[in-house]
Amino acid sequence: MDKRKYLIGDLMSYKKISKYFLDNSNVSVGDTITITKTDIEYKGILLDRNDNSEDGYIVLKLDSGYNIGINIENSEVNLVEKGNKPKIGYDNKQIAKSDKKENISIISTGGTVSSIIDYKTGAVHPAFTAEDLLKANPELLDLANYEVKALYNILSENMKPEYWVEASKSIADDISSGSDGVVVAHGTDTLHYTSAALSFMLETPVPIVITGAQRSSDRPSTDASLNLINSVKVAKSNIGEVVVCMHETLDDSSCLVHQGTKVRKMHTSRRDTFRSINTEPIATVKNDNIIINSDYSYFKRGKRDLRLNNDIEYKVGYIKSFPGITNELIDYHIDKGYKGILIEGTGLGHIPDYIVDSIKRAKEENIAIVMSSQCLYGRVNMNVYSTGRKLVDADIISGEDMTPETAYVKLCWVLGQSNQINEVKELMNKNIAGEISSKSSVKNFLN
């Protein structure tokens, strides 16, 4: 939601007719103007206009605070007062650090951790400095010392595997320079891809916590604050793993801590969108308590040494099977030189039997093909039906009980480790970062 906002400067500008009109009238955005038409006169501050909107209109913010769009046909503009494009931001005051508190790194990747609203123009500006962050969430000051950096500024849906590499490097740097825990603020759309990628790339002695917001931080009801505060608590905890920390329910009262490889965005808009799939959450954060799920085994803080292995293969395809799928889709990837393909099959891990020929062709071309299930819940088993057995014969690799997204990310990473198909197969079937569980519990469905 509202992700467009921090790109507002890029997306906003006047088009041809309006621009000509404004330039001719010698006024620019931020000026107080009057616009006079035959039957009405408006006075207000000239604002920018969204690029997708119709040309021939200008936007004014009236004294009452309302914005309106005005058709410039037969109108005359007069400058009342020159205005400046307002500068937004606070002095970057140094915040005192305390020896008694843990040092937590906060890395932002583009989700707005906090925003400032300029009520004069109504514009929303992203805020990335530590000062801004702490101003929006003063409770954080009681919890830790902070090192905050904006790694990049992209929409979650525009995330690319290259960014995982960069993020893992940056996190590793922070940990080696003494960070006691890392919080990554991320847009929610592809958050679970990133959490899986970091899980494979980093063996970590400290918690790496990825969080986000379903409701943007410029609104008083944002879920960003609770998610961020609880993430910092988890970053201080004993859980030495890559995890995701997000709202447990629609209430602003608790968050769940999910394992980075076993979590998925399951709702387009709810705050409790992230759910553990085929497993239970590691812990619940409620008030000041982190209640660990006692059935869960995890690496404790300090148990592992920091190890970064961020070699990955970018040329990996992702194909979803559907009634009517044709060989072309597989063949295209083979022809284009893809090194691996993740298939999101139906049911236990199936594709139509007429696709098997293409799979065999891929095998001959030494392309790794991994099968996962679009059921999301449950485990791939290709022995039950004849088509499945044909796939096994074609050397297709089972994605076990991984989510398709995790299986895809893992395939990218595994192909970065080896190009020998037998090694690829072995690594894919081996549990690296909690992504594969050995058996399926009755409990883990739709919760």
Binding site: M1, D2, R4, K5, D39, I40, Y42, N50, N52, S53, E54, Y57, V59, L62, S64, G65, Y66, N67, I68, G69, I70, N71, S114, S115, I116, I117, D118, Y119, G122, A123, V124, A127, D132, L134, K135, A136, P138, L141, Q214, R215, D218, R219, P220, S221, T222, S225, L226, L250, D251, D252, S253, T268, S269, R270, R271
Partner: protein
């Protein structure tokens, strides 16, 4: 009161719920729900950054503390949009069109493009922490007998959640009302006489009622802002009863004048608010006051030079102390004690003396006492100090609540300028000139015009026409009437009086659609039933809406008797009263008519009964 001399200025703000099929930004119905909720959602709101300015952690913590909310939601009657868990859907165009109609009726100028804004509201009444609102029209006017009044703006916005309960820890709201479209009409603050405000409110009400708006309690809310030259602007919320309006204005002026007097007196006395908060537990150790003895702690402050002024009446039955108390109450105490009203409430004169002595006070000083747990008592007294210090300013800019007795009560300080920013989840909406023109060409008839017209057109009495218009049934009336030859007065009276009456008796009159009414009236027209039987037949039709109406009439014995049968019955009555006829001759007509009508009510036409009774008496006399 000489309003002109006082420099009285008033403006009106009217909020009216629109009667749309769906809410403003989601597909839920625009109806309140009275059944038990399905889910409770717990939320916090936090002030956004620019409202905070500098980091003041204490103030911040305090503001957060008060922002715990619970929301009652439903599985089917409300949706994720009200929960703030789904982005809003597109603007409800039906609501926008009704707003444009209202704007045109108020002679306003419609904007070219409607932009939805977010107006920050963090009292919990909106789950998002803001109200969605947009400007539809500006620059309107109304001509009143007191002169022209400018209608500054017409907004289209979301109604807020319904407040269900407030406790020390949280406020609970219901999501049903959130998102119902509201038209917000604001006049300029140029009205000088309460009668004029009343007139304008009445006129706007008439205009609103000619469009598709909700009716009934709570669907229209009127706020008035009032100022006098030496006073300050005060907004009075929720003026339900316009008849109280003059009183509210006079009481408010009185309050402002008294506060100015108090200010002058305080200054001349060199009055002062003492910072220290005193522990008074010891002094009231053995008190007989139940409130004091049961409290965890008793605390007080000294207001030097305030003596006698705390007890001063600012409005009838409300003292300056009441104003102070309403600030303290915001911190969770149920009230305050002040020395101007003591001894009382079980506090003895002895204790008061002891108190004054130990705090070293003279008779010009006052003490405010609060009894509660330590934390709340202190925070309440801080509010008291704040209010007492503000007394040196005279009248404060405040939002106040209208009370039923014509007084007002403090709610909160007047908000500063609206803090609005763009709602980025909703695209701007271009209002086509064509749409505005077609609306302008088809504006609804205003109630007064409509009334005059139907009086002339259908020969209705003023009262009957008034009822038809007021009850909003004119369209039904005018839809029924062309298919019938029956006289318009009968039809109008049934619609205006009989149907509401059987509805009051508990019958489901929603079953009486226009087609059914036409069938019923046709039976009268064709001589099948009498006018007197209409009510009874309607009741039966309400009970079995799917049955044939003529059959219902027959089955329930509501049809008219044949003339022969009528003659037979009346002739029987006449024979039985032969003696009376012999004695009273034709003047027996009255009593016999009564007896016949009683027996034949609803089963024979009155004029027929009249004729037959007359004939039968004649016959009897002739024998």
């Amino acid at each position: 009161m000489d309003f002109d001399k006082l420099g009285l200025k008033m403006g009106l703000e009217i909020h009216q719920q629109l009667n749309t099929m769906h809410k403003l930004f989601c597909p839920c119905k625009t109806e309140l729900i009275d059944k038990d909720y399905d889910n409770i959602i717990k939320r916090n709101l936090r002030p956004t950054q620019s409202e905070l300015g500098e980091i003041d952690r204490a103030a911040y913590a305090e503001s957060i503390q008060k922002l715990n909310f619970k929301y009652e939601s439903y599985n089917s009657e409300t949706c994720l949009v009200e929960c703030d868990d789904e982005p809003p859907y597109s603007l409800n165009e039906e609501a926008l069109e009704i707003s444009i109609i209202i704007g045109e009726l108020l002679n306003m100028h419609i904007v070219d493009e409607f932009h939805t804004m977010r107006k920050q509201v963090i009292d919990g009444s909106n789950t998002g922490g803001f109200q969605r609102t947009g400007l539809v029209a500006t620059n309107g006017h109304l001509d009143t007998p007191y002169g022209k009044v400018i209608i500054e703006s017409l907004g289209l916005e979301e109604d807020a959640c319904r407040r269900i309960e407030t406790t020390d820890d949280f406020t609970e709201f219901r999501l049903d009302r959130l998102g119902i479209p509201l038209a917000e009409i604001t006049t300029d603050p140029s009205m000088h006489h309460p009668e004029q405000v009343r007139e304008v409110a009445y006129m706007i009400g008439q205009i609103l009622r000619s469009t598709n708006v909700k009716r009934g309690l709570g669907t229209i809310r009127q706020d008035v802002n009032i100022s006098i030259e030496k006073g300050a602007r005060v907004e009075i919320k929720g003026v339900q009863n316009l008849d109280l309006f003059n009183k509210i204005v006079e009481n408010e002026i009185q309050r402002q004048l008294t506060l100015i007097e108090i200010k002058d007196e305080l200054k001349s006395r060199n009055a002062k608010v003492i910072e220290e908060i005193y522990d008074l537990d010891e002094i009231f150790e053995n008190t007989e006051s139940k409130i004091l003895s049961s409290a965890e702690s008793i605390k007080g402050i000294v207001l030097k030079g305030f003596g006698g002024l705390i007890g001063k009446e600012v409005q009838k039955g409300r003292r300056f102390g009441t104003e102070i108390a309403s600030y303290a109450k915001k911190r969770g105490v149920s009230g305050i004690f002040h020395t101007d009203e003591l001894p009382a409430y079980g506090i003895s004169s002895n204790e008061v003396e002891k108190l004054k002595k130990s705090l070293n006070l003279d008779e010009n000083d006052a003490i405010i006492i609060v009894a509660h747990n330590e934390k709340i008592a202190i925070s309440a007294l801080e509010e008291v100090k704040k209010r007492a210090n503000l007394a040196f300013k005279g009248v404060l800019e405040e939002t106040r609540k209208a009370l039923e007795d014509g007084n007002t009560e403090y709610m909160r300080p007047l908000p500063t300028a609206n803090r609005m920013y763009l709602e980025t989840d909703i695209p701007s909406f271009k209002i086509e000139k064509k749409l505005v023109k077609s609306i302008k060409d088809n504006l609804p008839e205003l109630p007064d015009v409509k009334k005059e017209r139907i009086i002339n057109e259908y020969k209705l009495s003023e009262d009957l026409a008034n009822q038809i218009v007021k009850k909003g049934i004119c369209d039904d009336f005018e839809c029924i009437i062309p298919s019938l030859k029956l006289d318009s007065i009968t039809i109008a009276s049934v619609l205006a009086y009989d149907i509401p009456e059987i509805k009051r008796e508990g019958h489901n009159t929603y079953n009486l659609d226009n087609n059914k009414l036409i069938s019923i009236f046709s039976l009268v027209e064709n001589g099948k039933i009498s006018k007197d039987a209409i009510s009874n037949l309607m009741i039966k039709v309400c009970e079995s809406p799917n049955s044939n109406i003529e059959k219902i009439a027959e089955d329930n014995n509501l049809t008219l008797l044949s003339e022969d049968k009528v003659i037979e019955i009346i002739s029987e009555i006449v024979k039985n009263n032969a003696k009376m006829i012999e004695e009273r001759k034709m003047s027996a007509m009255g009593p016999l008519m009564g007896m016949s009508m009683k027996k034949l009510k609803g089963k024979a036409d009155g004029s027929l009964v009249n004729k037959v009774v007359k004939d039968e008496i004649q016959k009897q006399l002739n024998t």
